[in-house]
């Protein structure tokens, strides 16, 4: 929280001066023609004034998309998606189309903001209320930009990176998630609208959590987010995406691609708090979240660590993975996935061991309540060359009530006799005696559930950056409201 408050102070300190990069100028809304076609792909690329190579890349991805079937391995009930029903590009909404004040926002969402302790100004932004230009994401970004610039760190939107740093984008985009990977990856590659780009130069340790303003920055990244993070030799970066508050969003279909590349001895820590609109208690509405996140530990002794807290979305389909190419490289995956009411989640990771002496660790905590279904799906694959490699996996599931489900689907492939793989899994119901004990000490049933579940998730939550850990704990409790008694 401290960092968030600091951000807001800094923004406020900019005063009321008209910020020259703020997009406060009235834009008429520009929309691509409805539906998905080569024409739409060209339209998006043209709107962004992209170079020819980028357009070609998108068009190729679109061709691939048309050939690939929808992935079907997940234990999810996904309604048929009609890709022609969506708009794939619209410029930032003009102020007049946005809600005028918080009075126009769903009171349920506001209640959650209050419980999370989100400052009023930030509530407005998260709800998409039209706010003045001083507080837009661009101006927040600039307060940090100089500090990062001085270190040679590049942190900008992917659109800007395509213009300003084409050599880096060209070299790395699609190098971790090939466009041919599966149809959602291909779709994203064809029509991605924006996202973040990070480059940490050799030997630099990024001094700030890139989360501190991303929380505000991230609001308009849109439904097809594309993010690329490169940590050059001996560098370090910690990045947090998303936000603990539920975000209002009319787009039902999300398909993000996030690629990480760690070179020799570099470390990337990537944390996510996902709390998109989950739909109502009857399962109406809510986001379909099809995310492809993959990191390549390309250099020796490099490390990539994913931490995720997934509490939102009607459907979550997500497997942040690590390709451990470099010798002695390390991959980690810490996950909390909470499903309540009629939410469905199929999430886990893939750890692909290629280099020698590589190690990976997977800690997954799935909590299912209401009528929700929660699946852990994970692959640990140890290549014949990856001698002396290790994996440790622990998957714990907690059930609240009698109508929900928890499933664990581990895939293990080992082609190397020198390596060790450990897998532990537990499934349990929330303990009535623990609840009674907490309530005898004065906690109401919801607080008691929140406390016990937070204890259950502790191993994962402690990997979140400090400023988000407290909010994430509150979020865990809020997500399970109404699940007991």
């Amino acid at each position: 929280m401290a960092a968030t408050e600091q951000t807001i102070k800094q923004v406020n300190s900019l005063g009321n001066s008209e910020y020259k990069y703020g997009f406060s100028t009235d834009l008429d809304e520009i929309k691509a023609p409805k539906g998905l076609s080569e024409e739409v792909v060209r339209f998006i690329s043209a709107q962004k004034n992209e170079p020819e190579w980028m357009l070609e890349w998108r068009l190729n991805a679109f061709k691939v998309f048309n050939k690939l079937p929808k992935p079907n391995w997940a234990k999810l009930n996904i309604p048929e998606i009609n890709y022609q029903e969506y708009y794939y590009y619209s410029s930032p909404k003009s102020l007049k189309d946005k809600p005028k004040s918080l009075d126009e926002i769903d009171p349920e969402i506001l209640k959650t903001y209050e419980k999370l302790g989100i400052p009023l100004k930030e509530q407005e932004i998260l709800s998409g209320v039209a706010v003045d230009a001083v507080f837009d994401s661009v101006s927040v970004a600039t307060t940090y930009k100089k500090q990062l610039n001085d270190l040679g760190i590049i942190f900008c939107s992917i659109s800007e990176a395509i213009q300003e740093h084409p050599e880096l984008v060209k070299k790395y985009i699609g190098s971790v998630i090939p466009v041919t990977d599966h149809s959602f990856a291909a779709l994203n590659s064809a029509v991605f609208t924006d996202g973040s780009f990070v480059y940490i130069p050799e030997g630099v340790r990024c001094p700030v959590e890139l989360s501190t303003y991303f929380r505000i920055n991230a609001i308009n990244t849109g439904q097809f987010e594309r993010t690329l993070i490169i940590a050059d030799k001996n560098s370090y970066v910690s990045y947090l995406e998303g936000c603990t508050a539920p975000m209002r969003d009319e787009n039902q279909l999300h398909a993000a691609n996030v690629e990480l590349v760690a070179l020799d001895n570099a470390e990337i820590k990537y944390s996510t708090v996902q709390n998109w609109y989950p739909g109502d208690s009857e399962g109406k509405g809510g986001i379909y979240n099809f995310v492809t996140k993959r990191g390549a530990c390309r250099g020796h002794s490099s490390k990539i660590s994913w931490t995720q807290v997934e509490t939102g979305s009607a459907i979550t389909w997500k497997y942040p993975s690590c390709i451990l190419q470099g010798d002695n490289s390390k991959g980690e995956f810490y996950s909390v996935a909470i499903t309540n009411n009629k939410q469905q989640a199929d999430t886990g990771t893939k750890m692909i061991h290629i280099g020698k002496n590589t190690s990976s660790k997977i800690i997954s905590k799935g909590i299912s309540a209401g009528k929700a279904q929660n699946t852990y799906r994970g692959l640990v694959s140890i290549n014949s060359r990856a001698s002396n490699s290790r994996n440790f996996t622990q998957c714990d599931s907690l059930l609240i009530g009698n109508e929900c489900g928890a499933h664990t689907v581990p895939y293990i492939e080992s082609s190397n006799a020198d390596s060790t793989i450990e897998h532990e899994a537990t499934t349990s119901k929330i303990n009535e005696d623990q609840l009674f004990y907490c309530m005898q000490r004065g906690l109401n049933s919801e607080d008691a559930v929140g406390l016990i579940v937070n204890g259950f998730c502790k191993e994962v939550l402690q990997h979140l950056p400090m400023e988000f850990a407290v909010e994430a704990q509150k979020l865990v409790a809020i997500s399970l409201e109404g699940s007991v008694g």
Binding site: M439, Q440, R441, G442, L443, S445, A448, I452, N454, K458
Partner: protein
């Protein structure tokens, strides 16, 4: 303060408490003694509101209110505390965090703001020291890998900081060595006042040498068969339950 009248309780159709009556006034300490299976622990769970017990007959009045109408947490916040015979382990929840959450739950109930961090630290430190609970233990997960004695001390610590009006100690002496027994008893005695009451449930007279009760009741087969003062406990120790029950 607490008035139990003609209470009948069953679990899954089996009658455990069969017409128990007991009144406890402000400032009094009552001891309830009885053999295994006589209904002692059932009574403590019924009073604190645990699910799974059917009240077939009778009433329980607490501070003028119908206790049976209140939820578990409402009873707790109304000042009723149960020191558990078998305290629950809560993995991943630091002991001091649990204590703070419990205090704040009560404060919220009373319409007070959350406890200030410094005030909390002071409160815990002084109370924990008296019970021989080190700061290292407060950092551990609640009751996880605690010894039997540590768990019981933890119950008394929680009681000391929540300051209940009516405390039920369910076999708090079981599994305690003589030193721990003395420390735990001192904790209880320190809390005794004109304003609060205790119901001390135990098998043995031993505990009552430390926590001197005003009244002693003997329970057998779901009802109180004999009541008296401290001398009854001594008599019981001498003659055993069987004899006493017969003469009742």
């Amino acid at each position: 303060m607490l008035k139990i009248n003609n209470l009948h309780v069953s679990i899954e159709g089996k009658q455990i408490i069969k017409g128990l009556s007991l009144s406890i006034n402000k400032g009094e300490v009552h001891a309830l003694m009885g053999p295994n299976g006589s209904g002692k622990s059932t009574l403590s769970y019924v009073l604190s509101g645990k699910e799974g017990y059917e009240i077939e007959e009778g009433t329980i009045e607490y501070n003028g209110k119908n206790l049976l109408d209140l939820e578990v947490d409402e009873r707790a916040n109304a000042g009723l505390f149960l020191a558990f015979q078998y305290p629950m382990e809560i993995p991943g929840v630091q002991t001091s965090f649990f204590l703070k959450t419990a205090i704040n739950s009560k404060r919220k109930f009373l319409g007070m703001p959350e406890i200030d961090a410094l005030e909390f630290a002071k409160l815990i430190k002084s109370q924990a020291e008296d019970l021989g609970i080190g700061s290292e233990m407060l950092k551990r997960d609640l009751n996880v890998n605690y010894s039997g004695g540590e768990k019981k001390k933890q119950e008394i610590l929680q009681m000391s900081i929540l300051k209940p009006d009516m405390a039920i100690l369910d076999e708090t002496d079981s599994g305690l060595d003589i030193d721990a027994l003395r420390i735990v008893s001192e904790g209880v005695n320190k809390l005794r006042s004109e304003q609060n009451s205790f119901l001390v449930i135990t098998h043995y007279q031993r505990l009552l040498n430390y926590i001197k009760p005003d009244f002693v009741h003997i329970i057998a087969d779901g009802r109180i068969v004999k009541s008296g003062d401290f001398s009854l406990a001594l008599e019981l120790e001498e003659k055993g339950y069987e004899d006493i029950s017969k003469t009742a």
